[in-house]
């Protein structure tokens, strides 16, 4: 029972982080048609910036985190507007651009903070007893925050005017342009929102892991895996796939070894790509 509970919470926390990343990757591809290799860099940068704001200016962690999310979002919007937009029609160039940008950010982090790992105090210290099983409060916080963030994103996309405009661009760029939606602004907005969510994921997980310049690599890989599994461009598919991969990962690492997790995920994805290239849930760009 206790192992079951542990796997339940671990799986949910991991899924939450993966989902925060994957939703962004899916959104950026759906709306902007960009495969964003820089998404892991946004995750890393968010965590470092929150740490920097909190320690250098003595800010409250919550304020620092919010500020870090905003900074990363702003940077991502500028990146999209100045560096991606001129190349958008040439897919390969966009890939290389996001890759080069990701590494430029990684090197900037190494320059400013050094390559050594930092450990971060938990925002929610201590542990909570759930049905007699002690669970780190930070992990529950991760579950709560990621659930909340994804819930608000969902409501935003399905009911807010701006959210609907973004979905319209994903559905049909020319059509959206014709009805007066500023398509370039939509691209930049989506990049900013997604990067902000990636930063949030990096921030809330950093007390559980540690800060390193390469911390974004693994979640980047997993979010790509999830997006392919769920069907590229489908948010609903990405969420289900995030839960699937998160729990499969928690189970495999409890039962066998954490080293096998990525390998299994990759084999799963390869199978899906070969036999059902549009993912488990088909292409559903139009649905949020």
């Amino acid at each position: 029972m206790q192992t079951f509970l542990t796997i339940l919470v671990f799986g949910l926390a991991t899924s939450g982080i993966y989902a925060l990343m994957a939703v962004g990757v899916a959104l950026i591809y759906g709306v902007g048609r960009v495969i964003n290799f820089a998404h892991g860099a946004f995750y890393t940068l968010g965590a470092y910036l929150a740490y920097f704001y909190a320690t250098a200016f003595g800010m409250n962690w919550w304020v620092a985190s919010l500020l870090a999310m905003l900074s990363v979002g702003f940077l991502a919007a500028v990146f999209d507007r100045l560096l991606i937009e001129p190349l958008r029609e040439q897919e390969i160039l966009v890939w290389i651009m996001t890759f080069a940008f990701a590494f430029a950010i990684r090197e900037l982090i190494v320059l400013l903070f050094g390559a050594r790992p930092y450990s971060i105090p938990a925002f929610a210290p201590g542990s909570v007893s759930v049905l007699g099983q002690a669970i780190a409060a930070q992990r529950l916080l991760v579950v709560a925050v990621s659930g909340l963030a994804i819930g608000s994103l969902w409501i935003f996309l399905s009911s807010a005017r701006l959210g609907k405009a973004l979905r319209a661009v994903a559905l049909n760029r020319t059509g959206a342009h014709l009805v007066g939606i500023p398509v370039r602004m939509a691209h930049a907005t989506v990049m900013a929102i997604s990067a902000g969510l990636a930063a949030l994921a990096g921030i809330i997980i950093s007390p559980i892991n540690v800060l390193t310049p390469d911390m974004g690599l693994e979640p980047l890989l997993m979010s790509f895996t999830i997006v392919i599994l769920g069907g590229i461009g489908s948010l609903r598919g990405s969420l289900v796939a995030a839960l699937l991969v998160g729990y499969a990962g928690a189970l495999v690492s409890f039962l066998w070894s954490p080293q096998l997790v990525t390998f299994m995920a990759l084999v799963m994805v390869f199978g899906v790509l070969i036999f059902r290239p549009s993912g488990l849930f088909g292409l559903a760009v139009e649905r949020a």
């Binding site: 080069a100 390869f270 070969i274």
Partner: protein
């Protein structure tokens, strides 16, 4: 996919024709050989790596640059060859004369499997599914860490020569042969078919072409080119590190090809030497080095998205045409 309309027809390797003139860019290889032979040791080593990357880039370009299918897992071919020859020669003490061909054969086998599984998938799905294979192999090297070295890789691969200048000669021979083959191949009927596939695979199929067959053969050839360079790399650097399986390796090859000008065979070679050297000369900047490297890359992409070779070639041609008397067509 890279936009064919961005290049005027004469910028790309166009048409067919097998005159000797098309091979003149291979003359670059002996020039590099002379520089490397008489240069200082660091220069030789840099050119050694440059030539290895250039060979990868040729292999990548002859498939992806012409067919438009982005092989985002290209590094799996050199990596497989490097790992197999390293395991055979360092762990099982088999002579390199046998282990290198075995490594190439293993990469060829992998290409057969990968090609059969993935070539029917198109567009972004092809790129994503190929990108996964080296990542999975990377995990395997960790899962079987005892045998495949895990994080550290395999050390103690026996060198072939002690003098890096002789290694350079071998790698340049591999590069020269690969360039000759690729230049011949892309001007043959197969090259035309590959370009037709880039233009529109369905149209090519409607013409009665078995596009799968041409893609498959081209993938095998590109795998052998990369594998040969990869296998030799294991011996001259005397180790194989798992980083070679990382997606970064492939992205780097694509970057070299893209900076030089994809679909030209020569462009990717120039791009590789250019960027490998840039990276080396930035070493004086120590901590700033990689940041400057990637920032330069970002700016190059932003302001010269079709690479540096194509715009320069265009400018030179314009100059020549303006000053010289009008001559016949540029290319035979």
């Amino acid at each position: 996919m890279s936009d064919p309309q961005k290049f005027s027809p004469e910028d790309r390797l166009g048409g067919r024709g097998n005159g000797l003139r098309q091979y003149w860019p291979v003359l670059l290889v002996p020039v590099i050989g002379v520089i490397g032979w008489f240069g200082s040791q660091p220069v030789t080593i840099t050119l050694l790596y440059g030539a290895t990357w250039a060979t990868y880039a040729v292999g990548y370009d002859m498939f992806s640059g012409f067919s438009g299918r982005v092989n985002l897992g290209y590094a799996m071919f050199p990596a497989t060859a490097a790992y197999v020859t390293a395991v055979l020669s360092a762990r099982l003490k088999i002579a390199p004369a046998l282990s290198i061909p075995a490594g190439i054969a293993a990469a060829l086998l992998l290409a057969v499997v990968v090609g059969a599984l993935t070539l029917r998938i198109t567009g972004i799905y092809f790129a994503l599914s190929t990108s996964i294979i080296p990542l999975a192999l990377f995990q395997l090297t960790h899962v079987f860490g005892k045998f495949l070295g895990g994080e550290e890789g395999i050390w103690g691969v026996p060198p072939i020569f002690t003098d890096p200048r002789l290694d350079l000669v071998v790698v340049l021979l591999i590069l020269g042969a690969s360039m000759c083959f690729a230049l011949w191949y892309v001007r043959s009927k197969a090259g035309l078919v590959l370009r037709a596939i880039q233009g529109g695979e369905l149209t090519a199929q409607a013409l009665g072409l078995n596009t799968f067959r041409f893609l498959f053969v081209s993938l095998l050839a590109s795998a052998v080119i990369g594998a040969t360079a990869g296998a030799y790399l294991a011996h001259f650097q005397m180790l194989v590190a798992p980083e070679i399986l990382h997606i970064i390796t492939t992205l780097q090859i694509i970057t070299f090809a893209q900076i030089g000008g994809p679909g030209t065979i020569v462009g990717p070679v120039l791009g590789s030497f250019l960027l490998v050297n840039l990276n080396e000369y930035l070493r004086a900047w120590t901590d700033l080095r990689l940041f400057v490297y990637f920032a330069t890359l970002v700016l190059l992409l932003r302001f010269s998205p079709n690479g540096v070779l194509v715009p320069i070639a265009r400018a030179v041609r314009r100059l020549v045409q303006r000053s010289g008397p009008p001559s016949g067509p540029e290319r035979s």
